[in-house]
Symmetry: C2
């Protein structure tokens, strides 16, 4: 197809498509004449991945380049590519890491080991978890980690469902795009559902009492 | 205690404490002489709540004022106060709501009804969920909603554990502060754990194959 049709098919403007080609995110089309290039389904697919990384994942152009390089490297196993695509999406609770960070990292490594997860204890996700644990402690809610196992159970259930969904997609590039979309929107969905479930749990815990615990 | 001790106890500077009093976030101390005021444990508690809302929740000063007004209104039932404090914390996936938003809202209301949740289908959380569902659909991943029930199961388990934790706190003000911290940091913790569980699930699904699905 010509660039005009590629633009119509994907909703990405012609100048933007040309920009992606110049930036090395999208392979150039096949030249059919000195002024004309032809594009195929791989370009449609790749544009979907680029938009997902930019718009949904909020990655920079340089970040997208890193991901598509991993996707294009046929030597890289799929689960490494998935990691490269989703590592930059880990939402971090920004806070000065206090004194407890090393202890929290050990705690996270212990949790990973105890659950038998094949997951890297030095990954951005493990680090983000350690930072959140330190923040809880600094805020006087260190006991909240009592519920960490409940959270891990829930995360395991959701992650299995996510991977089942992703595994239904066959093409390698589409798989990565699905993982990006599912990672970001899955977070949004879970936190909305958690909030709704809070309303229900709060209603049954506190809704019947006319007044709160008091003690102000 | 004097303002200097309140500052030391809470880590909040004296000018900042005075600013919170002027802005109506913190009640003034009791005047013990024309130039001296005395502060009590309720001030310590309230400062913790203010910092949690500002630093952890990212609320504006006006937003914090709204929450503390709800906390101070003894006529308001606790679960309403919890809602007022946590509604502004709902993370939204920002996207132009497409044509499907009304249908998505009905779907969310249906899910709330089917699960028997006492949760408001017009709440910010329900709306954020509808927006995420539309975004999935627009991105060509409408089928991802197949796993919505798995997400809801997980959210229910986590929300119950959250409320169990919160219910252990007796004082009304401390309860709200806990809910704010737990809502924001609970999201961060869950998404980190989900990512770690993804690594494990991805390793077992794709880790053994030397090469990906191919088909580029």
């Amino acid at each position: 197809m010509r660039i005009g049709e590629l633009s119509r098919r994907t909703g990405v403007s012609v100048p933007t498509i040309k920009f992606y080609v110049r930036e090395g995110l999208l392979p150039a089309g096949e030249l059919t004449s000195p002024n004309q290039a032809s594009y195929g389904e791989t370009h449609v697919q790749r544009l979907r991945l680029i938009r997902a990384l930019l718009d949904v994942g909020g990655l920079s152009v340089a970040g997208v380049r890193g991901v598509v390089t991993a996707v294009d490297d046929a030597e890289q196993p799929v689960h490494k590519v998935l990691g490269a695509a989703t590592d930059p999406l880990v939402p971090r609770y920004e806070r000065e890491p206090g004194d407890g960070i090393e202890e929290a990292r050990k705690r996270v490594a212990g949790l990973i080991a105890a659950r038998g997860w094949h997951a890297d204890p030095s990954s951005p996700a493990a680090d983000a978890l350690a930072v959140a644990i330190v923040a809880l402690d600094d805020l006087g809610h260190g006991r909240f980690v009592e519920v960490l196992d409940t959270y891990a159970d829930a995360a395991e259930g959701v992650a299995r469902a996510d991977l089942d969904y992703v595994a239904r997609h066959v093409a390698r590039e589409e798989l990565v795009e699905s993982a990006v979309v599912g990672t970001v929107l899955g977070d949004a969905i879970f936190s909305s559902l958690r909030r709704l479930a809070h309303m229900d749990a709060s209603d049954s815990t506190f809704g019947r009492t006319a007044r709160g615990g008091g003690a102000e």
